[in-house]
Symmetry: C2
Subunit: 114 residues, 2 copies
DNA sequence: AGACATACTACATCAGACGTAGTAACGACA
DNA sequence: TGTCGTTACTACGTCTGATGTAGTATGTCT
């Protein structure tokens, strides 16, 4: 199980990735994250919905209400151009972050050497 | 430049890595991190020293005062067995975290496909 | 009727990273 | 002698993202 604090700063990226090709809504995104990660990461509802608010305020996503509903009426979100651009930045940043952190990580089978 | 919020949760790991083979102190660790990452990450003093406090409280490191000094007297830190064990856990966690996040990352040259 | 899935909102808390600021000892240099 | 640069910290406050707890509401399934 992953302590979600590590993921801090990448929840937005995860959501944006799932919005790249088509609009979606909270519950679906939540399910997709769970599936894609084989349940290794399950995003909390409050985390998800506060990410929506934050990202809409930042202009990365736009909401609209969908008609076809199962349960309560849904709010759909679509990614904006600013959102795509932000997503790309985060992907670049990730490569850098990974590079930095891995300087301080010893791979599993090498722990014996100290 | 890396926004340090991403690194959140791994500053302790970085410090522990540098303490694996020998005790060290604030300024030296700070320099080593800067060097190792080619200045891609520079740990802030406040971040570093509050990490020391936190980790000592958690029993991951132990402090002792060193004699040979240039400038003000130093506090040295050495890693404990609990610290080594925690470090190993963080390394494992990192592999998992990386795996999870990378499901949502598009590599640089593939951004054209959406 | 009650469980369960869907679809949220409100409010409070916590912790880690950071900003700002100040203290202090020593050497080097002018 | 003064002050600059390096070393070596401490104190305090702030910000933000993630989380906990709780509640509301609609529909389907049994």
């Amino acid at each position: 199980m992953i302590s979600s604090d590590i993921i801090r700063g990448y929840t937005d990226t995860m959501i944006l990735y799932l919005l790249l090709n088509e609009p979606s809504y909270g519950y679906e995104i939540s399910r997709k994250i769970k599936e894609l990660t084989d349940e290794k990461y399950i995003m909390k509802e409050t985390t998800l919905y506060s990410a929506f608010k934050r990202m809409e305020a930042n202009g990365y996503i736009e909401s609209f209400s969908g008609e076809e509903t199962y349960g309560k009426p849904r709010t759909y979100y679509k990614i904006t151009e600013a959102g795509k651009s932000y997503y790309r930045e985060k992907c670049e940043e990730w490569e850098l972050t990974k590079e930095v952190i891995e300087k301080f990580i010893v791979k599993e089978n090498n722990h014996e050497y100290y």
